[in-house]
Amino acid sequence: MPPQTLFEKLWNQHLVCPETPDTPAVLYIDLHLIHEVTSPQAFTVLKERGLKVRCPDRTFATMDHSTPTLTEQVFGGVPITNDSAARQIARLEENCREQGIELLDLQDQRRGIVHVIGPELGLTRPGSTIVCGDSHTSTHGAFGALAFGIGTTEVGHVFATQCLLQRRPKTLAIDVTGELPRGVAAKDLILAIIGRIGVAGGTGHVIEYRGDAIRALSMEERMTVCNMSIEAGARAGMIAPDQTTFDYLRGRPFAPRGEDWDRAVQRWQQLPTDAGARFDRQVEIDASSLEPMITYGTHPGMVMPISGNVPSHPGDAVFDKALRYMGLTAGESIRNKPVQVVFVGSCTNARLSDLRQAADVLRGNRIAGGVRMLVVPGSQPVKQAAEAEGLDRIFVEAGAEWRESGCSMCIGMNGDTVAAGQYSVSTSNRNFEGRQGAGARTLLASPATAAATAIRGRVTDPRELLS
């Protein structure tokens, strides 16, 4: 057999029917994650056609997008302010009950952002195909899974058949050599990659992140990298499984046990890309030359080193419109720009290690007057683990708000928003216009940059506080 990439192995192992010129491949889906926002219309179609969910045991539900993060609303019986969000949550409960799907409901202590809980529970496994009606499903690729976001019609297809019709995407290898300098995070690496290849640089491709710098990342850092693959337009992002992957998964609630575990690891060890396998495209990045990164515009490709100046593109009306929206001018430095909001959270950067990085910077400091800082753990288990090591006290004593888990200010459809015109340094994944609230101005950065910025009330290079 010719040498194969990680992606090709997974693709071939999940082919129910191969593709032909006339028809796409029928691809089997091992795990279908669902949430309250993109599933109700798919359940409706299923009911209208008299169909059942084919594999409830391969389907797992949580609620995260439109759920509140205020403790009194999650646990204290205070009603959810937005009626339609409350209805959406009730509908998910009803649909999961009817179809026999396991659901982590609002008060479940395992609940959290769908892309945080999958790995945490050991549902996410190397070599599997994983889909969810959410574009950040690419996160799970960190485990050597083929994981991608789908629309609601496709959610219905997976409900009814456990399969999807797919044309085979192309492959893009991103080789990251060298070592990330101190104070430069996985978030900075992925922002730099997006800056390099552009927001459509990965369109039609599945990315495999490779190289020494990737091998050196923890699983949580790998998830941050794969998470933002979609911001480069890619279908999915993947990292070959290794001992780091196996060590993370062993003993997780849904991970295989005993002999099953040993057999699974043997299978997973066969997955990495074979020597001599070919990619459709290849890009090389030197990690050792990177700095903390920050976005200045209205998509994640409008990004620069934090020490840089906002670039200029004379004659580019769309670029100028983005700068006007952001209230920035070409040539100006972004450092020391006053900010009003700092958000540490989202499926990109709300795992325990992210919270630790923010807490390390904040420890013993207070956030600047006039800054509102929200720290929203990615899941309830992350919250409990953070509290067990006292991170919550560091945040609260610094003057930040410590919330229950959810998508929160990343998407601004749950009560947590940034006001029009305000600057927000956010550890989330999208700086699109209005993403954090109508008129909000988002600057994407790492948890350490967010925390350093909160202390000074101005955009701050975290390395200045790490000495």
Partner: protein
């Protein structure tokens, strides 16, 4: 289950000369707390279309009198990037659009559009630039021939996934095709770990 077949579409265009139009612009997230797919058109491009008090902005293309009744939207490169929300094509269809033209269309948006009968048409940059510079041009999209014909009679072909095209032309829905593969799926499951 049959859907309405689509063969040709003739319409004037609305031009939105913006690159990287993301699905958060097409329909902002605050309108996603719904459990149906109907009625989303009034929220399409909400933050570009309406002022903070909800009044339509006169200078936004969709609000201009000449945009009314146009069924083809032309936009800059990388249309539909970002979130996987199918609410984006639902909102555009509800606004009366039946095709979106761009020099590049994001993967998930394209897939979602095709499943709802909204034609995602990717054309060469030069053709797209011409269309953006000539809003209101009457063009014809022929799905059978996979051609787009400009007002001067010039025709260009566009790529479209063959199965999606077949389904649109014949009003066949893709779920029906997948359900027809039940025996193969069951056989696959019997050996898949």
């Amino acid at each position: 289950m049959k859907t309405k077949p689509i063969t040709t579409l003739k319409s004037t265009t609305v031009a939105l000369p913006v690159t990287n139009v993301d699905t958060d612009q097409i329909i902002p997230a605050r309108f996603l707390t719904t459990t149906t797919r109907e009625g989303l058109g009034r929220h399409a491009f909400a933050d570009w279309r309406y002022g903070p008090d909800g009044t339509p902005k006169a200078d936004f293309v969709l609000n201009r009198p000449e945009a009314q009744g146009c069924r083809i939207l032309v936009a800059g490169r990388n249309f539909g990037c970002g979130s996987s929300r199918e609410h984006a094509p639902w909102a555009l269809l509800d606004c009366g659009f039946q095709a979106v033209i761009s020099s590049e269309i994001a993967d998930i948006f394209r897939s979602n559009a095709l499943k709802n009968g909204l034609l995602p048409i990717a054309v060469e940059e030069s053709v797209n630039d011409w269309l953006l510079a000539h809003p209101g041009a009457e063009i014809t999209i022929d799905l059978e021939q996979t051609t787009l014909t400009l007002p001067d009679g010039r025709s260009v072909t566009f790529p479209i996934e063959s199965f999606a095209r077949y389904c649109l032309l014949n009003g066949v829905d893709q779920l029906g095709f997948l359900l027809g593969r039940d025996a193969q799926i069951t056989a696959f499951e019997s050996t898949h770990p």
